[in-house]
Symmetry: D2
Subunit: 370 residues, 4 copies
C-alpha cells in the first residue's frame, strides 16, 4: 500500500486467483491521513477499493459500498504502517486473508474458527448522531450481523467493529435547514459522541448494557464500557457499518480471534494476554517464526481523560498542535507493535466506553500452529 | 512539573534540605514543547531553574547557566510525561537524585557507582555548526568532562549527553553579516547536522571514530555511529554542553548506569537488555516493587531514513503535519514506557550516528537492590 | 523581540531614560506560540517582563504581575510579527508608547487624548469560568478600570481588552476535588466560553447587554455582541485582567484611538474606516510617511461558525491539523497588515460575541499629524 | 466542492449541456489537504475528475490524465475556499469557464482574448528532479504549449503554470536501486528544488533566463526570477505538466488575463495593479457588481527566506508545528481575497524564482465589461 489510492496488492491476489472478488465481505485498514474530520484518505481508499471490486464483480461501486463494510482508521503515527485486512468468505465456510499476505486455506473445523458477520443501518441523520437513536440503530445492526455470522451466543463474540458518521459543518447546516437540532456543532466532539453511542449500542446487543444507562451517560459515565467494542467515526460514512468477529464451530478456516482489555495506555501485559489465548508467546516479542501466523491486530485506545497515566501527567489533551487521538494512536500503536515486532496494526483512537476507562482493548487474529 | 515554568518540586527538595542547591551539577529533562526550533519551553524552564538556583546560591543566573548543563528535550508526545532529573554531587562522593523522588543517600563503594562529569565549550558560531570545528569542539569537551568525573578508561563510560546549538534565521543573518557561510539555512537540517557533529565528537573522544571519518560523512555514512552518544540540539544554547555518565569505583552512591543499543524502533528486547545489566527484570514489564529503583531512563531514537521498519512502510518522513521527530519520540517513548510502566522518560529524537542506523539506544540509571 | 524571553527593546528604553519603569501600566503583545492551552510563550514572556520591571522598580515580580495587565496573544501566523506594546502613564497625564519605537511626548489637551485604565478581579475558580459569575466579575472590573481612567461616559470608550483564565485538565481535577463541577472539560471549549463570558461582561459594563441575556446565550445567541470588546483566554492567568482604552479631554498625549467593526473575515473596508476616524488614508495601503504615526493595531477575528464566508465554504473548522484560531489569525492578520504595510499587529482569534458574528473588530492607536 | 471527491458542480454543467466534456483542456484548483508530500486530496480529486470525464468521453481515465493538465494546489488555509477552474476550448475559438459559475459564451475578437495551450513532458525520474535535466524538460514543454495555443510572441504570455514531480522516500529507494543519486532525500526540499527548476525552465522558454544561469543557481541566486512563472510540486505527478495562458487576437471569447508581480507578502497594491490592467477597480475592494466578471485568480507567494518582511521578524521558517508554505498561503491568500471579496483563489506557496524574491505574483482572469 504505497499511498491511499494503491490497491495493487489486492488486485494482485484477485488476478492470480488466490482471492475471489465476490467472496470479500469486509475491509479493516489504516490509511495515512490525520484521522480527523478532514481526513480524506479514507474516502480516497474506499473509492479506489470499490472501483477495483466493481471492475471484477460487475456490481456498481455504490452497491458494493452499501454492502461491504470498509472500516478505515486514519493516522499511521510513529511506527504504524498503512495496510489493510481483507475479510473473505467462501463456500459454506469462512476464509479470511490479509491483502498483504497469501490467502489462507480453510481447514477442518477444530475448536471453532473465525466467524464473521456484517450489517448496515439506514443512513443516520446529523440530529441522531450521539443520541439514543444511534444507540438503538447500532444495537439492531449488531444483532443482524450476529445473525449473518450464525453466531447466537454473545459469549462467542470477541470483537465488534462499528464505523459511525459524525457531524460536519455542512451536516449541521443541513440539519438546521430541516428544523432539527444537533447534539453538538463541534466536529471533533461529534466524533466522540458518535463513538460513545456506538459502544453503547454494541453493549446493548451483547447484553452488557446496564438497564439504567441513558443519553446522559454518553461521554459521562465511563464505568459503562464494553471490552469487545471498537468504534470509529468519520466524515465519509452516513450510516452505521458493523462487523462482528467471533469463533464458531459452525465455521471452518485456519484463523481464530482473541481479545483482551487494556487497563491503561501502558498495559503491555494485556498484549501478551491476548496472544496467550491463541497459543502465541511473546518473551517479550513474538518470535520471528510465529510472526507469520498473525493475520491482523486490532487495537483501541485513548488519552486518559484525567490527564494522568499511573500518576504521571501527560500532555495529550492540552495540545493545540497535535490532536490527542494522533498522540495516543502513535503511543499505544508502538507499544503493541513492539510486542508484535510489526507496525502493521489497526490502531484506532477514541476508545470512549470501549474497554476500561483510560485504556482500551487489543484483539489478535492468528492462524493455529502448523 | 505542572508546566515549563514550574520548579516547585526541586524547590521543595531544597527547602527541606534533602538536596543542597550548591551540589547540583546537571539537569536532564523533558519539557512539553514541540521539540523543534521554535520550542521555547526549554528556555522558559532553564530561566526558571536558574532563577531558583540563583536565589539559593547567590550566584548570578548567567553564571549558573554557564557551568551547569541543562539538557532539555522538548516534546512529551503520547504517554511521555514532563519531568526532569537532577544530578548532584556531594562531598568527595557523588549523589544523584530525581527531583520527583526523594534524594538517594550515598552508600559504600561496591562494584562502582554512578560517576558524572560535565564541561562546556566556547560559544559556537553559526558557521561552525554541523562542520568539523564542532566535532573537535565536542570531543575536547567530552575529554574535559571525563577528567571532571575522574573517568580515565573510556570503557567505563555508559552514556554521553551533549546539547548543541543550531542555526536559526537570525543566526544566519548574523553569520552572513560577518562574511561567513553556514552549512545550511534550513533550521531543521541544521539541528540534524549539529547532532551528527556532536555524535562524531563523542566517538572521537571515546576512541571510536574511524580515522577516515570527515565532514562529508556527517548525515551521510551512517555506519559511523556511537552506541553511547546522545545529542540534542536547540535554539536556546550557543555552546556545546557535555555530561559524561559512567560507573566508577572511585565514586560512591546507590546508583549505577547501563546502556544498550536499539537496532530499530521496534527493538523491545533492547530495553530488557539494559535493565538486565542492572539486575532488574521485566517480564514483560518492570514489577511495581522494582519501579522505585529506577532513577532515570534516557532514550535516543529516529525515524528510519529508508522509510521502512522491518519491511513495512512508515509515513513519518513524508508527513507535513507532524514533524518526524515528534512521531518517533511518541512511538519509541511508548515502547520503552510500556516496559518501565512509567512515562517519565527522557526520549530524544534525532539519533543520527547515535546507536545503530534507524535505531538508537537506551540507558537506565537505577539503585541496587535494597 | 527575538524570542519570547527577549525584553531587550524595553530594557533599552528604560536604560536610556525614555521610559520610566514605574510609569508602565499595561502590556499588549503577540508571542510566537500556538495560542492554545499549551502555549507557554505567554508565560515565558510575562516572567521575563516582570523580572525586568522588578529589577528596575524594586517591587516583587508577583506584585507587579498582580497590578499590571499583560495581555499576550500567542500565535504569529503568516506575516504577523512578534512584538509588544507598552502602555505608560506619567504625571497627571498619560503617556503611551510602543517598546519598538521611541516614546511619544505628551502634548496639550486637544479634542481628547488616549486614556487608559486597568483593573484585576479576584482569582476565578475553574467552576466559575464560562458562567454568569464570570460575566459579573468582568463587568465589575471594567467599571473599575473606567474609574481608574477617569472615563465616565461609556461612549468615550473605544476598546476594552480582557484576559481571562481557562480550564485545563489540572484545574478540572482541582475543581472536582473541591466538589465542584465545571462547564466543560474540553480545554479549547473552555477558552471559548471564557471569552464569551468576558464579552458579555464588557457589554454589561458598557450598558449594551440586553436585559434578557443569560448563561444560555453564551456561545449560543451571537446576536448579542459588543463591537468594542476584545477578550483573550489563556492558561497563564487565574483572574480576569482588564484594560479600558478611550479618548478623553481629561488626558493629554499625542495619541488617539479609533475602532471599527468587521462584518466578516473579508471586510477590508473596515480597516480603512478605523483609519479614517484618525485621519489616516489607505489608498489602498497606508503611505510610508504615515506609517510611523501608528502606535498599535488591535484586531479580533474568528472563523465563521457557519462554515462559509460570503457563500464560499471555508475549511478552518474541520481541520484536525491546524487549529481554527491559528487559521483565522493568519488570514485576518494578513488582510489588516496589507493595509498597514506592517505585520506588527495584535491579532487575537476567538471573537465570540466580539463584533459582528463571523467578523470581529479592528482598533488603531495613532499619533495626530505633526 | 464539498470535499476532494466532489465533482458534482462540473457534472452538473456537463449534464445540462453548458459544457462539453470533450472541450476541457485543463484544470487548476485548490483542494483542502496540507499541500505537502502527504497531501492525497490532490490525487483523490484527480481520480474523481478523470472518472467523471471517462464516463462522458469514453476515453480511459489514464489517457485523460496524460493529456489534460490537472494542477491542484493543496491547502485552503484561512479564508481560502476549495474550488477548481475548468479551462475549455470549443470550435476554432476558445471558451473558458469556471465550474462554479455558468459557462461564458465566446464573443467577437476584440483586443485579444484568453488563449490557452498545454503540454506534458515524459515522466521525470527522481534523479532528474531539481537538476538541469528538469529545466530543459520544462522549457521544451512550455514551447510545445505555446505552439498548442498558437502563441508565438512570448510577450503575449501572462502566466505559465507548471506542475512538477517531487522526490518521496519511495522514489529515493527506486532511484538508488537503479544506481542513481538524487539531489536530496528530504521530500520538502525536493519540492522546492523541483519548483526552482520549473521556474528556470519557464524563464528559458520565454527568453528571460540569463545565459550564465546553471544548476548551482537553483535555490541560490534569487535574482534569477520570472514574473510569469507559477510552479507547483507534488507527489501525485510523475512528469512535468504545463499550462500556458496569454491573450491573443487569434482567439475569441469574453475573457482576458493580466498579471502583476508582488514585491513582498504585504504588496496589497500589486493586486490592484493586475485588476487595473483588466479595467476593474478595487477601492479598496472589488465592487459587488464587478465580482461576477472575475473567473479566476492565481497567486504565488513565499515566506521571505531572510526571516523578515519590511524589517519585522516573521516566524514562518522556524515553525515546527505549521509548515511555512501553509503559513504564507493563508496570509497572502487572505490579503488577495480581501481585495477580491472572495476566498476562491488559487494560492500556491513555494514561489522560488517566481516573481520578486520574498514576494511572488498575482494573475486575474476576467470577463470584459458587458
Amino acid at each position: 500500500m504505497a499511498h491511499p489510492g494503491d490497491v495493487s496488492a489486492l488486485a494482485g491476489l484477485i488476478d492470480t486467483g488466490e482471492l475471489r472478488a465476490g467472496d470479500i465481505v469486509a475491509f479493516i485498514g489504516k490509511t495515512e491521513g490525520n484521522g480527523g474530520v478532514n481526513d480524506f484518505t479514507r474516502g480516497y481508499f474506499t473509492q479506489s477499493l470499490m472501483a477495483l471490486l466493481a471492475r471484477h464483480t460487475g456490481e456498481p461501486a455504490e452497491a458494493l459500498a452499501a454492502r461491504i463494510p470498509c472500516v478505515l482508521s486514519g493516522g499511521t503515527e510513529g511506527v504504524l504502517s498503512p495496510h489493510f485486512v481483507v475479510f473473505a468468505r467462501c463456500g459454506d465456510a469462512v476464509r479470511s486473508t490479509s491483502a498483504s499476505g497469501a490467502a489462507a486455506e480453510p481447514v477442518d473445523t477444530v475448536n471453532g474458527s473465525l466467524a464473521i458477520g456484517t450489517a448496515f443501518t439506514e443512513p443516520l441523520p446529523a440530529e441522531a448522531v450521539g443520541r439514543w437513536a444511534q444507540v438503538e440503530s447500532v444495537a439492531a445492526a449488531v444483532r443482524a450481523a450476529m445473525k449473518d455470522a450464525g453466531l447466537t451466543d454473545p459469549r462467542d463474540i470477541e470483537f465488534v467493529q462499528v464505523k459511525c458518521p459524525c457531524i460536519t459543518s455542512a451536516r449541521v447546516q443541513d440539519a438546521v435547514a430541516r428544523g432539527q437540532t444537533v447534539v453538538t456543532t463541534d466536529a471533533n466532539r461529534s466524533m466522540a459522541l458518535s463513538r460513545a453511542a456506538g459502544a453503547f449500542g454494541i453493549a446493548l446487543a451483547l447484553g452488557e448494557l446496564p438497564e439504567s444507562a441513558g443519553d446522559a451517560d454518553l461521554l459521562s459515565d465511563f464505568a459503562v464500557a464494553c471490552n469487545r467494542a471498537s468504534v470509529s467515526s468519520g466524515v465519509e460514512v452516513t450510516c452505521n457499518e458493523v462487523i462482528v468477529l467471533g469463533n464458531s464451530k459452525q465455521w471452518t478456516g485456519p484463523l481464530q480471534i482473541a481479545h483482551a482489555p487494556m487497563r491503561d495506555a501502558l498495559d503491555l501485559p494485556a498484549v501478551g494476554a491476548a496472544l496467550d489465548r491463541l497459543g502465541i508467546a511473546a518473551r517479550p516479542q513474538v518470535a520471528e517464526a510465529d510472526r507469520g501466523r498473525i493475520a491482523a491486530v486490532l487495537v483501541k485506545c485513548e488519552p486518559d481523560r484525567r490527564g494522568q497515566i499511573r500518576g504521571a501527567r501527560h500532555t495529550m489533551l492540552d495540545d493545540t498542535d497535535i490532536n490527542a487521538q494522533r498522540h495516543i494512536r502513535g503511543a499505544v500503536g508502538a507499544l503493541v507493535a513492539g510486542v508484535m515486532g510489526d507496525g502493521r496494526l489497526f490502531v484506532s483512537g477514541g476508545a470512549e466506553h470501549q474497554g476500561p476507562d483510560g485504556g482500551g482493548l487489543v484483539a489478535v487474529i492468528a492462524a493455529g500452529r502448523a
